[in-house]
Symmetry: D2
């Protein structure tokens, strides 16, 4: 079923996502402050919107992919927000990774105007965006989730329904906080093995086959040389940057605080990633935390 879709925010992630919607046969109208990426997509079958308002007019679905809460709130709310432009029953899908409170605030205000909203943060990186194999973690009511699912399926492979509006954001940062713990913990366990004379590959194989098994050991070993395709073996070229993991951990710490949750392991990981940033590794892949435990 072909839809008329607006897409705002055509960065490293948003660009290829919009391109996949074009390929899937939708009519896609695109907007970004960077005109050159708009032109690129326009030359590949998208319509170039003249501004955000234009992009949000005469569409079934509006997708946004922006850097942070303030951009999302400013796009939709306030005197100049799209809330005054969007037609009733339009479905808004915000794919940005932002704090859940902001997602709930935007969703509630749009809802009062009869505009549907789901938050749908992604994981899978630029590679997944390009290949159309992203994971979407969606928050919103059942009917809106069903609608969104059809569109998201043209950009991704796994589409989860986490709960009400905001739940997509919460589930994503719970996952990413846990991922940072797995990465830090796996790194220090391998380093301790090395420091005691073990071979990193042998130890990794043993733990992968034992109760230490986790996503980082299976697919993303942080020790250089253990896994040929992992960023660690490619000079920690990202992949998923330290700076982005630090941003997600910031959102996790905010969520922990707002809900008065105890997160000693997550807080530890947050501080380790902050120290890694201070050492100048912000643009490295997040598995570079391995180096923080190294003796050299």
């Amino acid at each position: 079923m072909s839809l008329s879709i607006g897409f705002i925010g055509l960065g490293n992630m948003g660009g290829p996502m919009a391109a996949n919607l074009v390929k899937a046969g939708h009519q896609v109208k695109v907007f970004d402050l960077n005109q050159s990426v708009v032109n690129d997509l326009a030359s590949n079958g998208a319509l170039a919107a003249t501004d955000a308002k234009h992009c949000a007019t005469d569409i079934d679905v509006l997708i946004s992919m922006l850097p942070a809460s303030k951009h999302v709130k400013s796009l939709y709310l306030g005197d100049t927000g799209l809330i005054h432009v969007l037609a009733k029953n339009t479905l808004v899908i915000d794919c940005s990774t932002i704090d859940a409170a902001s997602a709930r605030e935007v969703g509630a205000e749009l809802g009062e105007q009869g505009i549907a909203f789901v938050d749908a943060p992604v994981s899978g990186g630029v590679a997944g965006a390009t290949a159309g194999t992203l994971t979407f973690i969606v928050g919103g009511d059942d009917a809106h989730f069903s609608q969104a699912q059809h569109v998201l399926a043209d950009m991704g492979k796994n589409i989860f329904h986490a709960g009400a509006i905001g739940a997509g954001q919460i589930a994503k940062i719970c996952n990413n906080m846990l991922l940072s713990i797995l990465m830090a913990g796996t790194s220090e366990a391998i380093q301790m093995g090395i420091n005691n004379g073990l071979d990193a590959k042998v130890l990794s194989d043993i733990m992968t086959a034992s109760s230490g098994r986790n996503w980082t050991l299976e697919l993303y070993n942080p020790c250089p040389g253990v896994m040929e395709t992992a960023p660690a073996s490619n000079n920690y070229k990202p992949g998923f940057m330290v700076d982005l993991m630090a941003k997600d951990l910031g959102l996790a710490m905010e969520a922990a605080q707002q809900s008065n949750s105890a997160t000693p392991m997550g807080s530890m990981a947050k501080n380790l990633y902050t120290m890694l940033q201070h050492q100048g590794a912000g643009s490295d892949d997040f598995s570079a935390i391995f180096k923080l435990f190294s003796k050299e």
Copy 2:
């Protein structure tokens, strides 16, 4: 190939391990300070040794399964140790979980007398010991590992060669330290989700299918009700006790110190498990760390 095997230490783990060797057709001579477990095994086909020395005489292989380093050192070394009793070329397999330094010390002293030694700590718990599906992580030279492998295969399923003598112990505690980090991290991530209105099962499913995936989410979910067969859903009946995890983390902290390794996540986990013990949960399953993050 049937062997003559001595087995010392017939506790919750050692008893069923020895029984499996009997079933496999070996001639098994057993000893423990607790006479009743000796009698049990004797009535099932084992020979009852009169003491440790008797148990260590006229055998091909000696297996020991003892609580701590001091028991292992005192069994083998010193004026009254089995080092004076064991025949040259006997293979000693110590399945106890002890510090690597002690394993190396015992292995080196036995080696000087021409007695072969491997350290082969296990994981898999009482259930694995009974079913004969234990995992053994072995340290020792290649030839001794090959010999040991044949015997261990009658008690377990996965047999890893981690490296030289002591490497079995190091690899096991690296794994168990990582496991404690996975369990603590998974617990606090799920609790933060719950505190923000998410359903624990939905969140667990999402993370299992995402980059937060790890052994605890797959097989041992710490949140009551998510996984029917997990200890969490059975009032945290172990399983693998908090006290045992605390012991293994103690060995991990010792190894970290001796090798001057930085283990911020492992140290955090160690302190959390110590606080859990102080709250009276020492005999609960180690997934009970979930309760430490609960708001009650």
Copy 3:
């Protein structure tokens, strides 16, 4: 020099603070949503304002003492804020403990209208408020600090100038974060001594005379029985509540995040205080963290 002072927020702290201004001879107009505390002060020489706007009219100085950022922002800013009521050149002294960003925001907006602003969070508790011995940590420009100093001197003993607007808040939470670290660290050091057979008083005396010396050992020993006058010896009756320390640590974590500061010790303390809250100790004195490390 007698001034005309408005005072909004007459809680446990604000009430006695306003009373001290009356005693010092100022003309004090007071307002609170709780009418009974207004009446109390009125019967002791204050003028009862009918509402916040009334309280902010015809005065030289306005002081506010409110629970959180949202109350402060809503009092001063927005369509109904006092920003539309306060006369140019009035000096606003906000004694609330809030995040620095909010303090800067309020200060900047008032400044644009020619209204002077300093943030002046306090320490010293209800006892200090009553005795007029509070410590004020002030942020604002030099001229405004000088003005504020004269008023604050009638409510407190130590008045520090930390820097520009917002610096008062930052300095206070840096101090309180450090205090939480001192309290947690002192508690675990004493507990470790006790667990190794030392007498808590003897150990405390030794550390007080050595390089472990700190404010908590000198004035506020967390171990029951060591210091007769400390909350620890009075069943942890506050004093300064766990809940309030947790709030301040929340502000510290926010400041750390906004400035991308690494605070591993502060984060550890924050998580320990959160766990203490979850154990039901929120209303105990903050030295009750001592119990978190206890074996019983």
Copy 4:
């Protein structure tokens, strides 16, 4: 009262300590494996012992100042130990910083032979050793403490009685663990202030006058430029080296483990100091932990 004193271990600390005993009028017989330091002291009035046994003969008191437990145990115990040489009623004062268990072991074995023993670890560094202003923290029974006090008074200023044998060691590492927490906590609090625009000196002054006050703020500010005489203002030239603090924290972690104490703050500090060592700062003053939190 002049005594005949043997002194073994004439390093950076032991050398000046022995020299002060000579100055105080005692007859001092000295021994070290390094013959040149023996000669130095001999040329200043000490007697040069030919070996440890000679040093331990015909004396009232034997003092030892050695690097680690293994040296102390090997000096006193075993087939070649001084236990076979020392006369009954000799008082042995071991000033080494070692684990309490080893101190208790040595004390117990000597005690069985009627030889008195106290552990008396020091603080105050080389400067204190030279000036005769060391602090001694003593473990042993009351009578032996009284005896020791007279000798120690010639080398130090503060002499504390912590409890039974081993208590000196425990009290010292409790204090030094707490000191590491104060230093790390003070460093991150000041860095957070700086990152938020505060002046380090102003913030330090405020916290010194408030509840954040502690030994490091008063005497040893870790921020360069705040305190002219502190190592921080002298390129972190020690003072007390990172490597030595890491050693003491290692002893603290051992004591925590043996007594099953929860030490989350101390463990955090230990890991931070280990990471600092890995960054090549082992020979810097321990206040260099300030740099670990810096943004560069």
